[in-house]
C-alpha cells in the first residue's frame, strides 16, 4: 500500500474510496503526480480528509475535474489529492425562486442541460469536458456574459465549505439579498481551492431571454473596434468581444474572411422589440465604422432562425449552428492550449502556449491591444488576441513559451496601464517565477487563517 508522509492509503480507505497510484498515473497537477486520490462522496468525508491532512501536515491537492487545475499559480508540493467529483447528487432546481442547489462534483454541463429543460440558465461559460461546478467556482472569474449578468461570484447565494479543522461551514443562503454576518463564502470563489473545499453551492439562475441575437462582424482595424465598443455601451449588450481575424477564423471556423482586421462578437438579449432596437443602433454604428456583418443568429426561446450571408459559414452548415456551439468553440480555444502544457510532456509536438489575461481600466484596453500588437515584431511566434473592451479585459495567447523578452515586456504593460496580468496557462517554471513576485501580506494572512499549515493546494492562489 502506498504511504504518503504519515498518511497511508489504507487509512484513507477507512474514510472514503481511494484511487491508487496505478490508477492515477496520468493525473498531472502542475507537473506533480499525486500518490493516490481520495474520492469522498459526502461533505463530512471531505472535511475528515482535510482534517487528517492538516493534522499530519501533508500537502494535498484539491481538484474537481482537473480541467483547469494546472493554470495560474502552481502547486509547490504534493503528496496526495482529493477529488470532489464524487460529491454528487442530482442538482435541485427551484424554478419558482430561480435558483439551483448543486454539490461540488456536479458537472457544469449537466447543470446547464437540466436548467435549459426548464427554460433557465447560469451565465457561466461552458467549461471543458469534465468541468465541475465546484471547480468552476474555485477558478472564479467572469465569463463572456459578464456585461449582462455579472460575474460568477455574483451568482453565488450560499455555499457549504469544508475547512482544515474538519468542520463544514455554511455561509449565505437562498436569497439574493442577505446581509447577515460577513460574506465569507465569496472569498472561496476564485481561491483555487487554497482555503477550503467548496462542497455545495446555491446559485442564482436566470430565465433564458425571450429573444437573443448573436452577431459576428468584421472591421478593418483596431481603432474601429474601440469606437464601435464605446458606442455600444448605452445599448447594454450582453457580450462585446473582438478577436484578431486569424484567431477568429480558427476559433469560430470562419471561412472566407480577410486575413487581417478584427472580428466582433456581440450578443444582445431581452424582449424582441428591445433587441431589434438595439440591433438597429448597432447596424448604424457598423455603417459609420465600415464594419461588415458576417453572421447573425436570432434565438427565440421556442425556436430559432439564422440570418446570414453566402460568404461565410460557422462550424459547418449554417443551418446546424446553435448559439451554444459558438460559446463552446470559444471555451475550447481558451482551454485547448492549456491541455498541451503538462498533459503531453512526452510528446515533442505538444504546444507550449502561454495564456495571459490582462485586466486594465476599460479605456486602456484599446491602448494595451495596440502596444501588444507593436511588440509582436519582437517575437517570431504568433500571438492571438481577444479583447472585451467594455470589461477592460485583454486575453493574449502566445504560441510559445520560449520568448521571454516578449513575455516580460507584455506583462510589464499591465502596470503601465494601471492594471494587472495573470498567467492562465504556461509552463510550470514560468508560472512559478511569475507568481512568486505577486503576493501581498494580507493574502498571506488570509491563507494562514484558513490553512495555517499550508497543506491545501500549497502555492495555488488567485
Amino acid at each position: 500500500m502506498h504511504k504518503a508522509g504519515s498518511v497511508s492509503e489504507s487509512y484513507l480507505q477507512q474514510i472514503c474510496q481511494v484511487r491508487s497510484a496505478s490508477e492515477t498515473a496520468n493525473t498531472l497537477l502542475d507537473g506533480f503526480e499525486p500518490q493516490f486520490v481520495a474520492e469522498p462522496i459526502h461533505d463530512e468525508e471531505a472535511a475528515q480528509l482535510l482534517h487528517l491532512a492538516n493534522k499530519e501536515g501533508t500537502p494535498i491537492a484539491v481538484m474537481g475535474g482537473g480541467t483547469s487545475f494546472s493554470t495560474g499559480a502552481p502547486l509547490e508540493k504534493l503528496e496526495w489529492a482529493i477529488s470532489t467529483q464524487k460529491l454528487y447528487a442530482d442538482p435541485v432546481i427551484n424554478t419558482d425562486d430561480l435558483l439551483v442547489i448543486a454539490k461540488a462534483g456536479v458537472p457544469l454541463a449537466l447543470i446547464q442541460e437540466r436548467l435549459k429543460e426548464q427554460g433557465l440558465f447560469l451565465p457561466f461559460d461552458p467549461g471543458s469536458k469534465g468541468t465541475t461546478i465546484g471547480g468552476a467556482l474555485a477558478l472564479g472569474g467572469s465569463g463572456s456574459h459578464k456585461l449582462g449578468y455579472g460575474s460568477i461570484k455574483e451568482a453565488v447565494l450560499g455555499m457549504k465549505v469544508a475547512l482544515a479543522d474538519g468542520k463544514i461551514y455554511k455561509f449565505g443562503g437562498q436569497t439574493v439579498k442577505n446581509v447577515v454576518g460577513y460574506d465569507v463564502g465569496k472569498i472561496f470563489v476564485g481561491a483555487r481551492g487554497s482555503l477550503g473545499i467548496i462542497t455545495e453551492v446555491c446559485l442564482r439562475v436566470y430565465p433564458l431571454p425571450p429573444f437573443s441575437k448573436v452577431i459576428l462582424g468584421w472591421v478593418e482595424n483596431l481603432g474601429s473596434t474601440w469606437r464601435i465598443a464605446e458606442s455600444l455601451e448605452k445599448v447594454r449588450p450582453t457580450v462585446v468581444e473582438f478577436y484578431d481575424a486569424g484567431t477568429a477564423k480558427e476559433v469560430f471556423s470562419l471561412e472566407n474572411i480577410p486575413a487581417e482586421g478584427y472580428v466582433l462578437l456581440i450578443k444582445l438579449s431581452g424582449s424582441e422589440p428591445t433587441v431589434e432596437k438595439q440591433w438597429e443602433t448597432i447596424s448604424e454604428v457598423f455603417v459609420e465604422n465600415r464594419a461588415e456583418l458576417l453572421w447573425a443568429l436570432d434565438e427565440v426561446r421556442s425556436s430559432r432562425s439564422v440570418v446570414g450571408g453566402p460568404k461565410f459559414k460557422v462550424g459547418g452548415s449554417k443551418f446546424e449552428v446553435r448559439e451554444d456551439t459558438l460559446w463552446q468553440q470559444r471555451t475550447d480555444w481558451l482551454c485547448r492550449a492549456r491541455l498541451g502544457n503538462d498533459a503531453n510532456k512526452g510528446d515533442p509536438n505538444y504546444r507550449t502556449d502561454t495564456g495571459i489575461k490582462f485586466f486594465v481600466p476599460r479605456v486602456a484596453s484599446y491602448d494595451l491591444a495596440v502596444e501588444i500588437e507593436k511588440l509582436q515584431s519582437k517575437c517570431p511566434y504568433r500571438s492571438q488576441i481577444m479583447v472585451a473592451p467594455l470589461r477592460g479585459l485583454v486575453f493574449v495567447n502566445l504560441e510559445s513559451s520560449t520568448c521571454p523578452e516578449f513575455f516580460i515586456e507584455v506583462v510589464q504593460l499591465a502596470k503601465k496601464f494601471s492594471g494587472f496580468a495573470s498567467l492562465t496557462y504556461a509552463p510550470v517554471a514560468l508560472r512559478q517565477e511569475y507568481y512568486s513576485q505577486q503576493q501581498n501580506h494580507w493574502d498571506t494572512r488570509v491563507k494562514s487563517f484558513f490553512d495555517s499549515r499550508n497543506i491545501l493546494n500549497p502555492g495555488k492562489r488567485p
Binding site: 437562498q174 439579498k177 465569507v184 465569496k186 472569498i187 447594454r236 432596437k277
Partner: protein, 478 residues
C-alpha cells in the same frame, strides 16, 4: 458590553486627539455628544468623544490613538441605520465621516466614480445626472445616507431587484485598519483584482473590520425610459403570488414593491387615496430600458396580475402620474408610524415563492400578539419590512412588539430565508444570529474580524452574541 474602564483615561485621550487631529474636529461637551448617540432605532449610548476627521491620515491617526488607549471606535455616516450599527459603544469614540464628503472623480469612460465615505447617495446621484449616468443602489434614506454607510451595510433599495445591491457596485476602496492605522487598498478600477477577494468581506461588515476612506463605485448609464404601473389586489396572497410569477416568467422589472393589507389601509386613510374596502394589497411595478421593449414587458406583467384576480391596474402616462402612484409606497412607514409614538421594524427576507406564506404569517403574528403590524415589502427580492407601532407608556406594548418581531425572524428562517436583507445586524439583530448560524460559524466570522482588528476596537459590541465575543477573546488570549 457597558464596560467603562477606558473612560478613566478620557482626558489624556481627548488631549492626544486634539493635538493630532485638531481641536475643532474633536467634540467632548455632552450637548455635542448627544447629537451622535443614536440612529433610527430606539438604541442610544453616549460616546466619550466624537471625532470628525477630514482625511485618510486623520482617520489613521484616530484609530491608532484609540487602539493605544483600548477605546472602541464606532464609525458613523448620517446615522440613518435601522439596526443600531452607528450607535456608539458606551464611552467609546464616534468617528463621524460626514466631513469627508468630496466626490473625488467621475470617470464615465471607465464607468466608475471615486468618493469619500461622507458623500450622500443623493449627492452622488445628482453629480452623475449631467453625464447621463446613475448609481443604482437607492435605499429609502438616499437623500441623507452616506455612501460609506451604504457600503458598510451593503444597502439595497427598490431598484436592487434588477440592478443589484451595493456589493455589486463596489469596485474597490481604501480602508484604514486598526490598531496601527495601516492604509490598505482593496479591489480597484479593473473588473478583477489580484489576490483573495477581501473586498467582499468588508462590504456589509458594518464598520467592524476597518474604516473606508475612499470608495470606487461602478456607475451605469441611466435607463432610456421607465414605465410604472400600480396594481391593487383583493388579497395579499394574490399580490404575492403575482410577484413570484412575474420574476419566474422571465420579466425583469426594475422595481416591484408591495404594501400588504394593514399598511395599505393606513396609507389609504392618511393620503385619502380612495381605494375601495376590497383593496387588500398594492403592488408598484416599474420596468425600464429601451422604450420599444417596455410595452411588451408591461403587457406580460399586467397579464399575470389579471390571472391573479387584480382589482385595479393604473399605468402612469406622465411623470406626475408616476409620482402619484408612488405616494402610497413612500408614505407607508409614516402612515403606520403615526398610530403610536414609537415603532419597531425589521427587514427579514424569504425566497420569493414563500412570500405569500410569509405575508399570511405576518397577519397571524399580529393577531396572536395583539399588535398592529403592517409591512412594506421589496417584493421582488422577498425582503419584508414588518413594522409594529407601540407606546412605551402602555405597559407591555413594547414587549409585545419585540416578541412579534422575534416571531417574524423565526418564521422567515423557517421558510428558508434570513433575518436581514439590507439593514444589517447591528445591535438589533444580535439575538437572531443564532437562528442563522451555529457557534462554529459565528466563531469563524468573529476570528476573521479579529484578524483585521486584533484589539477589537471597531464596533466591538455589534453583530455577535456576547457569548461568542467572550469565547473569541478567551481564545485570542489563550
Amino acid at each position: 458590553m457597558g464596560k467603562h474602564v477606558y473612560t478613566d483615561s478620557r482626558e489624556e485621550l481627548l488631549s492626544e486627539l486634539q493635538k493630532e487631529i485638531g481641536k475643532a474636529k474633536v467634540l467632548s461637551r455632552t450637548r455635542d455628544l448627544l447629537a451622535y448617540d443614536y440612529d433610527a432605532t430606539p438604541f442610544m449610548n453616549l460616546p466619550a468623544v466624537v471625532v470628525l476627521p477630514e482625511s485618510t491620515e486623520e482617520v489613521s491617526k484616530t484609530l491608532k490613538i484609540a487602539a493605544g488607549y483600548g477605546v472602541p471606535v464606532t464609525p458613523r455616516g448620517a446615522g440613518t441605520s435601522l439596526s443600531g450599527g452607528p450607535v456608539p459603544t458606551p464611552g467609546g469614540i464616534v468617528m463621524s465621516l460626514t466631513r469627508m464628503d468630496k466626490i473625488l472623480e467621475i470617470d464615465v469612460k471607465n464607468g466608475i466614480a471615486i468618493v469619500q465615505p461622507g458623500v450622500t447617495n443623493k449627492a452622488l446621484q445628482d453629480a452623475l445626472k449631467p453625464f447621463g449616468y446613475w448609481y443604482p443602489p437607492d435605499p429609502a434614506s438616499f437623500s441623507v445616507a452616506t455612501i460609506g454607510g451604504n457600503v458598510a451595510e451593503n444597502a439595497g433599495g427598490p431598484h436592487c431587484l434588477k440592478y443589484g445591491v451595493t456589493a455589486n457596485y463596489v469596485a474597490g476602496f481604501e480602508v484604514v485598519l486598526p490598531p496601527t492605522g495601516e492604509i490598505v487598498h482593496l479591489g480597484g478600477v479593473t473588473e478583477e483584482s489580484p489576490g483573495y477577494d477581501l473586498a467582499s468581506l468588508f462590504v456589509g461588515s458594518e464598520g467592524t473590520m476597518g474604516i473606508m476612506t475612499k470608495i470606487t463605485v461602478r456607475i451605469t448609464p441611466v435607463p432610456m425610459a421607465t414605465s410604472t404601473v400600480l396594481a391593487i389586489f383583493k388579497s395579499c396572497w394574490d399580490a404575492a403570488t403575482s410577484v413570484f410569477e412575474i420574476i419566474k416568467n422571465g420579466f425583469n422589472p426594475s422595481v416591484l414593491e408591495m404594501l400588504e393589507e394593514r399598511m395599505l389601509y393606513e396609507v389609504n386613510e392618511v393620503f385619502k387615496l380612495g381605494y375601495s374596502e376590497e383593496a387588500k394589497a398594492l403592488l408598484i411595478i416599474e420596468v425600464d430600458g429601451e422604450p420599444e421593449g417596455l410595452s411588451v414587458e408591461l403587457e406580460g406583467i399586467t397579464q399575470i396580475c389579471r390571472q391573479n384576480n387584480v382589482l385595479l391596474l393604473q399605468v402612469a402616462n406622465t411623470e406626475e402620474e408616476r409620482e402619484n402612484l408612488w405616494r402610497a409606497r413612500r408614505g407607508g412607514t409614516s402612515a403606520l408610524g403615526r398610530l403610536k409614538p414609537d415603532s419597531a421594524e425589521n427587514d427579514i427576507v424569504v425566497p420569493r415563492s414563500k412570500l405569500p406564506e410569509m405575508v399570511d404569517k405576518l397577519q397571524e403574528i399580529s393577531e396572536s400578539n395583539g399588535v398592529i403590524l403592517g409591512a412594506l415589502i421589496h417584493a421582488g427580492d422577498g425582503n419584508c419590512h414588518p413594522q409594529v407601532p407601540f407606546d412605551t407608556k402602555v405597559p407591555g406594548e413594547q414587549e409585545a412588539a419585540e416578541h412579534a418581531l422575534w416571531e417574524v425572524f423565526q418564521s422567515a428562517v423557517d421558510l428558508g430565508g434570513t433575518i436581514s436583507g439590507e439593514h444589517g445586524v447591528g445591535l438589533e439583530k444580535i439575538r437572531g444570529m443564532k437562528l442563522v448560524f451555529n457557534d462554529d460559524e459565528l466563531m469563524l466570522m468573529r476570528r476573521l474580524k479579529l484578524m483585521f482588528d486584533p484589539e477589537d476596537i471597531l464596533n466591538p459590541d455589534k453583530i455577535f452574541p456576547e457569548d461568542i465575543i467572550i469565547r473569541s477573546k478567551e481564545e485570542q488570549h489563550a
